[in-house]
Assembly symmetry: C2
Homo-oligomer: 146 residues x 2
DNA sequence: CCCATCTGTATCTAAAACGGTTACAGACTC
DNA sequence: GAGTCTGTAACCGTTTTAGATACAGATGGG
C-alpha cells in the first residue's frame, strides 16, 4: 500500500552514498522520481526520529544524523509511521457473546508475535547494507551489458 | 488499518464453536457487531479460498469447509486479500541514478524476508487454537468475577 | 406448489489515507 | 541584501474501507 517506507530507505541510501555532503530535496526527488516537497515531508519524519538532519540556506540539504551502519530498516519503518500492521474490529464485538468478548485479546497476542517476527527481520538490515546491496546489483547489471 | 482479517478470524472461530451447525450471517453479525451483508461478503472471500462454505434457504448459513485444525491464520490472511505488506515506489525511480535503478531490487529481497517471517508466524496458529485461546480467556475472565 | 428463509451480489455513501502539487515564510550563505 | 533551500500548511484527486440498502435466486417446509 504505502510507499513511504520504500522511498525513505531510498533517500537514506542516497544520503549515505554522498558521505556527508548535504543533498537538496530537488536532487533527491530527481532520483526517486517524485516531488521535492514530498521528499521534504519524509525527511521531516526521519529528522523527528533522529535519523536524518538538514541544513538550511545555500549549499544546504539533507544528511544522515548518524552512521549508516547504525540505522536499521526497523528504525526507518517506525520513523515513517508504519505502526500497526494489523487492525482489530472497528466496532467492539458483542460482549454478550463468548467469542465476541474474548476474540480480540486472543488475536492481539498472535498479531504481536507476527509483528515482532517481521520487525526482527527488519532490524537485521542497515542502510549501510542497503548501499552495499545496491552497488553489488549495479556491478552485476554492468556485466550483463558487457 | 484493515479489519477484515480480524473479523474473518472471528467468524471462523464462531463457526468452529457451532460444530457443523450452519450459522446465519445475521447471527454472526450480532457477535461481530456489524452488518450481515458485510459478513456475507467476507464469507464469500473465505468460500472462494476453500475455507468456508454456506447453505442457502431455511436453516441455511455458513460453516467451515474443513477441520478447524487445518485452517491456519495464514490461510485466512491470504483469503481476505492482505497480499502485499510493503509497497515499492509508486513511480519507477530514475534509471539514470545508480541508486534509483537498483534500490527496488534490493528492497524487494528484504521485504520478502520480512514478509516470510510474518507469514511463518501466522502459519503456526489454527482456528482450532483460536477457539481454545478464547475459551481459556473466558475461564480466566470468569474467575476474575468469582 | 407456494411461501418463508437465507445467501450472493450489486450499488451507494461517508470517511480516511495517500500521494502529488502549490505556496510561502523563515533560515542560512555569500 | 540577494539568492538558496528547508519546513510546513493547505488543497485536490484517487483509492480503500466499512456501513447500508436492495433484490434476485436457491432452498426447504408445509
Amino acid at each position: 500500500m504505502n510507499s513511504r517506507f520504500a522511498v525513505a530507505v531510498h533517500i537514506l541510501t542516497l544520503l549515505e552514498q554522498q558521505q556527508g555532503e548535504p543533498v537538496t530535496s530537488e536532487y533527491i526527488a530527481g532520483s526517486v522520481n517524485t516531488n521535492p516537497s514530498l521528499v521534504r515531508r519524509l525527511i521531516g519524519m526521519l529528522a523527528k526520529a533522529g535519523i536524518a538532519d538538514s541544513q538550511l540556506g545555500t549549499g544546504g540539504g539533507a544528511l544522515l544524523a548518524r552512521p549508516a551502519a547504525k540505522i536499521t530498516l526497523l528504525d526507518v519503518y517506525r520513523a515513517v509511521g508504519e505502526g500497526e500492521l494489523f487492525a482489530l474490529h472497528r466496532e467492539r464485538p458483542n460482549p454478550a457473546c463468548p467469542i465476541g468478548r474474548n476474540i480480540q485479546a486472543a488475536l492481539e497476542s498472535h498479531f504481536d508475535a507476527a509483528s515482532r517476527a517481521l520487525e526482527e527481520q527488519l532490524r537485521r538490515v542497515t542502510i549501510a547494507d542497503m548501499l552495499a546491496d545496491v552497488r553489488k546489483q549495479d556491478r552485476r547489471r554492468g556485466s550483463h551489458v558487457a
